[in-house]
Amino acid sequence: MYPMLQQPNPSATSATVGDRSQEFRPDTGERESTSGEALLVACYAIIWILAFALIFSSVRKQRSLDDRLTRLSEELARARAEGEKAPGKEKSKPKAREPEDLDA
């Protein structure tokens, strides 16, 4: 019968029925000071800042790892080649260990 009374706008009723029967508060206009547009812009800005931060950190991490991997692979290949040329020297070095579970 009174849909507006049955489902009040939550943002418009900060005090409960009990509060309203005990005290009257001046309207400070606080509700109006929170602009929906500003909240929307802030929300989207934060979401995209977080997204791009993750993307850039991932790309940087991947690049540095790729560089390290390439450098290490080259150094190991060179060391293995040198070891094959000098077999006596190779015996003194421990054998290269295979990673335990890199067959994923």
Partner: protein, 238 residues
């Protein structure tokens, strides 16, 4: 060893990145230019079109973490472990997006940023579980026991996901429930389409990020193995 990447995988990944970018741009266009403004809350309701997909992205990240963790516990290979780590990273970032966007919407809709509503509380708990996972992996070594402990956390952490989903149905609370009732809460076809497009965009976004992070962790493990080998060959410090 798994190489840095094969050419085929790179092409698929690039196509996925381009698709993600296009879907994101299209969903932004649709949300702001086509979907109508909501009658009661006004323009702030448009946060919904990215707030819910953010949590959906967290579900995807958490699912990847669960699958990776279970796979690691079963098989013990680092591919599964890398998937779990990648999933946890994405769960944390998209969960953070959801935790920030929700209160910004709530300030306008509820008049306050946070309540200890069942869905909000369980969502926060789930976010903290994946933060704990990332902290555990970041600050402990990469040994097998640490990996197994983290995998157990990844498996058990997923138990909270259905609780988040059904918390509104079981315990009520202030949180809106427009999706759980078959999408019937979205009263305009363009609202439904805007939500669908955003969800598709965030699905691609989460998949790309999980893939990228998992690949990075896989390469990191390779690098550590090679560094160990270099150390044993006496190449340390060169």
């Amino acid at each position: 060893l798994v190489c840095v990447s094969s050419r085929g995988r790179d092409i698929v990944f690039t196509v996925l990145v381009v698709k993600t970018a296009l879907w994101m741009l299209f969903s932004i266009y649709y949300v702001f230019m086509v979907a109508p403004v909501e009658a009661t809350m006004g323009i702030v309701q448009k946060i919904f079109y990215f707030h819910v997909p953010c949590w959906y992205g967290m579900y995807l990240g958490a699912a990847a973490c669960f699958i990776g963790s279970a796979g690691y516990l079963y098989k013990g290979t680092i591919g599964w472990d890398a998937l779990a780590r990648g999933g946890a990273d994405v769960a944390v970032v998209t969960g953070l997006m959801g935790l920030i966007s929700g209160p910004l919407w709530a300030i306008k809709a509820w008049g306050k940023a946070w309540t200890w509503d069942p869905r909000l509380t369980t969502s926060l708990l789930s976010f903290l579980i994946y933060v704990a996972y990332c902290v555990l992996r970041g600050f402990t070594g990469g040994g097998q026991s640490e990996r197994k402990f983290a995998a157990a956390l990844g498996v058990l952490g997923a138990a909270n996901l259905p609780i988040i989903h059904y918390s509104v149905l079981k315990w009520g609370g202030q949180h809106p429930n427009v999706i759980n009732n078959g999408g019937g809460g979205l009263q305009h076809p363009d609202m439904k389409l805007a939500f669908l497009f955003s969800s598709i965009a965030f699905t691609f976004f989460a998949i790309v990020l999980i893939w990228q992070r998992a690949r990075a962790y896989l390469v990191e493990t390779q690098v550590e193995a090679l560094e160990q080998e270099a150390l044993e060959l006496g190449l340390a410090g060169e």
